[in-house]
């Protein structure tokens, strides 16, 4: 079958980069576009199975998922042209992931150091001489405005940043656009095969289709030397992931 088992252990992940890194490291791969492409299905499957993420986080997961799909598409269809922005987002993801990997590595070293051999400072002196010494601003007015500042800066609920909302919308658009571009390339209609209402199944189905396109293309180039390159549509049934 196209998509092999989703061997993701459901541990708690600190966000999408953490999950992505875990998937890559489980396969003992280096961080690069090839390994990112390889774990795309696993990543999306995980997001699908864990929809209980807080909204801010699931947005981050979907942003990463969209970039992974770009990488996957590019690796399967080398003549697919990506926009400058798309290429940049791929490079960024790869770079961020390498940084995150380094950070995790360093944080493990920190854990080994933290609290093990503390440099102690002087204890508090209990016999210090107390001299009543307010400053020029120690009055009711300043105290009152100070407490107001304190109250104002108490942490409040954070809302989903607008830029991320924008990116979620553009993810759906991007899936459609990509599907269109690829359908043209292989002379088939993506929309005929998959239900649009379920976003995740569209993504997973889309990736599966790409995989099939690749396999089909390979087989054709081996078997028929001068023949027309053509997809065999009966091979592109809905794969049974669910």
């Amino acid at each position: 079958m196209v998509v092999s088992g989703y061997a993701v252990k459901t541990s708690v992940f600190e966000g999408p980069l953490d999950l992505l890194l875990d998937l890559i490291e489980k396969r003992k791969l280096f961080v690069n576009d090839i390994s990112l492409s390889a774990v795309t299905e696993d990543f999306i499957k995980f997001v699908e199975e864990h929809e209980e993420f807080p909204i801010g986080q699931s947005a981050e997961f979907i942003v990463v998922a969209s970039t992974l799909m770009l990488i996957k598409s590019r690796s399967l269809l080398p003549n697919l042209t990506l926009t400058e922005e798309e290429t940049a987002s791929i490079d960024d993801l790869e770079h961020r992931l390498k940084l995150y990997q380094k950070t995790k590595e360093l944080s493990i070293k920190l854990r080994e150091l933290f609290g093990k051999n503390i440099i102690f400072e002087k204890s508090a002196n209990r016999k210090e001489v107390v001299v009543f010494s307010p400053d020029s601003k120690t009055d009711i007015e300043n105290i009152s405005s100070a407490i107001m500042r304190v109250l104002e800066t108490l942490p409040k609920k954070e809302f989903l940043p607008k830029t991320i909302i924008k990116k979620i919308i553009s993810l759906e658009e991007m899936i459609e656009k990509l599907a269109e571009r690829i359908s043209k390339g292989v002379k088939m209609k993506f929309s005929d095969v998959y239900r649009k209402e379920d976003k995740i199944s569209v993504i997973v189905g889309f990736l599966a289709m790409l995989e099939l396109v690749k396999r089909g293309a390979l087989r054709v180039s081996q078997d028929v030397k001068h023949g027309e390159i053509k997809m065999e549509t009966d091979k592109i049934g809905t794969p049974n992931y669910v």
């Binding site: 508090a124 010494s133 601003k137 009711i140 100070a146 407490i147 107001m148 304190v150 109250l151």
Partner: protein, 181 residues
């Protein structure tokens, strides 16, 4: 580490006079060896900014008397320094919410208030309150001098006392309905 280093570290950490008996206990070393090590230490610290002050039984670190002018200046400077934004904010929390624990103050302000509290203590603006039952850390409350200086008789006379206190308390009890993480 040699005995001298160990003694020096203990003296720094304790920040108060330590007896030979205590040292002997902590280090498992006979008094005679300690006395020799202390003698050596005192020679090492000759003509330095830090000195070892001792009598027959107790010792502690101190600053060289030649620098007493400098130390006095620092002391004065510490007491005259402006409290600053952070100082006033911490003080206002102690006034409105006191007795309030160090942990609560840190939690309300979202930063560590250790040094600021210490400064408020030596300036006689706040003082330690009797620990509340079950509390491990100290609690702090405003001093009577502070209230007098502010011209109020009790905390309830502070502007908007009720509302402010209520907001603080509800934050402590229920910091964030849905924290993002």
């Amino acid at each position: 580490m040699n005995l001298e280093s160990k003694i020096e570290a203990i003296l720094l950490f304790k920040n108060e006079p330590v007896s030979l008996a205590t040292l002997s206990n902590l280090l498992g070393t006979p008094r005679k060896d300690l006395q020799l090590a202390i003698f050596n230490l005192q020679r090492q610290y000759e003509n330095r900014g830090i000195v070892i002050v001792s009598d027959e039984e107790n010792l502690c670190l101190g600053t060289n008397t030649e620098l007493s002018k400098l130390i006095e200046t620092i002391q004065k400077e510490e007491l005259q320094r402006e409290l600053g934004r952070a100082g006033l904010e911490t003080l206002s929390i102690v006034l409105y919410k006191g007795p309030v624990s160090r942990r609560e103050i840190d939690f309300i302000r979202g930063v560590n208030s250790g040094f600021i509290l210490r400064n408020l203590l030596i300036r006689g603006l706040v003082e330690r309150a009797e620990s509340r039952v079950g509390e491990r850390s100290f609690s702090y409350k405003p001093t009577l001098e502070l209230l007098r200086h502010l011209g109020i008789q009790k905390r309830e006379d502070l502007p908007e006392f009720g509302i402010a206190l209520q907001k603080i308390e509800s934050f402590i009890q229920n910091p964030l309905d849905d924290a993002n993480e």
